[in-house]
Symmetry: D2
Subunit: 202 residues, 4 copies
């Protein structure tokens, strides 16, 4: 069986080379996936030209088609996003909008094209909002044909009000790392289960 692949969509608002707290936290899931032999690739979407729209290719310099192909080449999708106003970032919502096209795209068996893949979530912020963001991303990818394993997420924030950011404190980090390990474990094993016993055509 070929090696399992994961794509991590880092939905930070900060362009490279600025340091991304979201990337730092996603790294916890990534290292846990790598320990299980999963090949991981991160795409920092804000560095690319992801055109507004809901088709798979908006033409004219649109760099979504390459990202879309990486998603389809992967078994595992990890959405990693900061928290702004308690919501997923505009970059995360942009990615979901482009994935909306997957609602009508089909695989060779005539099923939704994303079937057979799992998705998980990483949320960081110094604002409250993680549960809600997970709900939005989970519902979005479930609509698009992904399966979401149990507890397929980790998050970090430190409410209430303004405060230190992820790299500035140790508060809550042990829990966050434990969840990252569980997230990776469950993504890996449900992805394996779907490989070995895929949903057959209706």
């Amino acid at each position: 069986m070929p090696r399992m692949k994961a794509i991590i969509l880092n939905c930070t608002l900060k362009k490279s080379p600025e340091e991304s707290n979201t990337q730092m936290l996603a790294g916890e899931v990534i290292s846990n996936l790598q320990e299980r032999g999963v090949e991981c690739e991160t795409v920092r979407l804000v560095d690319l030209n992801i055109a507004p729209g809901v088709s798979s290719n908006e033409g004219d310099g649109d760099e979504w088609p390459e990202v879309r192909q990486k998603i389809l080449d992967s078994d595992i999708l990890v959405f990693a996003t900061p928290t702004w106003l308690g919501h997923p970032s505009s970059v995360a919502q942009r990615a979901l909008e482009r994935m909306d096209a997957m609602l009508s795209e089909q695989n060779e068996a005539g099923q939704m094209i994303a079937y057979g893949r799992v998705a998980g979530f990483v949320v960081t912020g110094n604002e409250d909002g993680a549960h809600h963001i997970i709900s939005q991303l989970a519902q979005g990818v479930i609509d698009c044909g992904f399966c979401v394993p149990p507890v397929a997420w980790t998050y970090w924030n430190m409410g209430p009000g303004p405060g230190p950011t992820y790299p500035e404190t140790d508060h809550g980090k042990e829990w966050t790392k434990t969840m990252a390990s569980t997230c990776a474990h469950n993504l890996f094993h449900v992805a394996q289960a779907l490989r070995q016993r895929p949903i057959p055509p209706e």
Copy 2:
């Protein structure tokens, strides 16, 4: 002008006389309202028989009609709820369902019956979820005819993962109290503005 009144709906899941963290945090808003001369009454909904349904009186021992009357006798409504699974409590949603009847009830001017009133929010938990809960309660009461002043909320929680409850730590409390003061200030002054210049019939 008659004294201003506020009703606080405490939506804790714990019956009296168990201690309610939600009540404790609501107390911060209440004392700030009282300093401005507002008469405050708290209703702990879980102690009452609030029947399931979406009418103003479900009969048969239903204690919602008294609560509804207190809401209509007040200028200010404060929803105070704990966070469970990142959502408003079932008790808070029950109250919203009963307020759904206000969508079609009218005042003497033929307007929605809740017009002229403002609403604010208090959220506590040791789980992340406050922003989302505020969004749900705000949208609910706006639908029902209430006006929501700027920053008409305070919250407390301490992410991520399990941890101390509101009375067990000082973390973040200064911020929470500052927000409670702003919440009360804005509720009071927007309620005053609407008393002096109510929305006229269309």
Copy 3:
């Protein structure tokens, strides 16, 4: 392998014997599950005494323990809820609150007790809100240890504004039934995959 079981939690606000539109729509998923050999049982929660709280047994006439046992005896959980103010019903949130206890309960392998189970969603209403409700229920059960298969939902409503209820029109029903079939198909096959290849202990 023993026959697969599903429990359907009907979260309508209407007590028996009043007709439940939510039950009617849930019936579409149920018949599709039955065609695949799944044994289905519906619990109409509003007919029971489900005490407020977040433990597995709140004592004193609490009827949640029996419901909890049925959930644990099943492979598939279907949450069926009406839409009120755009939110899951208070009865649905009450069930989630009681399931919160599953966060710390373990199976014999030391994993979260709900592991190995899948969940899906049925939403009805004459109000807009289905996507949001699915997001809330999905996040809630994923937190509690359930796996959510792709497109594991169906819904019906007819926006915008007031209008006919589910039994009163044919608008959109073909689509709703197609989704119910897909929902049942995916619940069944992902449940099978998890039976055959469960998530191992970490």
Copy 4:
């Protein structure tokens, strides 16, 4: 008293000159505001370069500063957004992220800079999601210092499943137009009330 001004942020994903259904529905609120003497200006954000970030000026060709100034020059803000995956568009979330800077910006009285302004919402889609989108936008702008009048919204969609778009059917339009009138009426009168009786400094 100077004439009242409104800014409408059209958050469609479609660049000019493509027809925007969101603009069409926003037009219903605009004409109702104009009848009340309000000067209305629409900004189609997707035609501008709104940089990712959470400051008021991200430099380097960023066109947000002009939009921000128009918001501050207005009494009324109308967020108009399509529905994608049941969420506000990425363009709407981008605008909220840039408004996040207003959390710490102050007016001459030392209050949050947006105080004294009201906000309303227009949501279109052939997908379910309006109530949720209104909840997200309302909470976002309330955080940022805006006041939200009762029923300050209108929406149109036609669930469930795929179907005609706003210009292609008359279904539900009478209701949508009635709500647009109420939305404009309430925005106008609460804005007037806040002009005449602004929230004083704490």
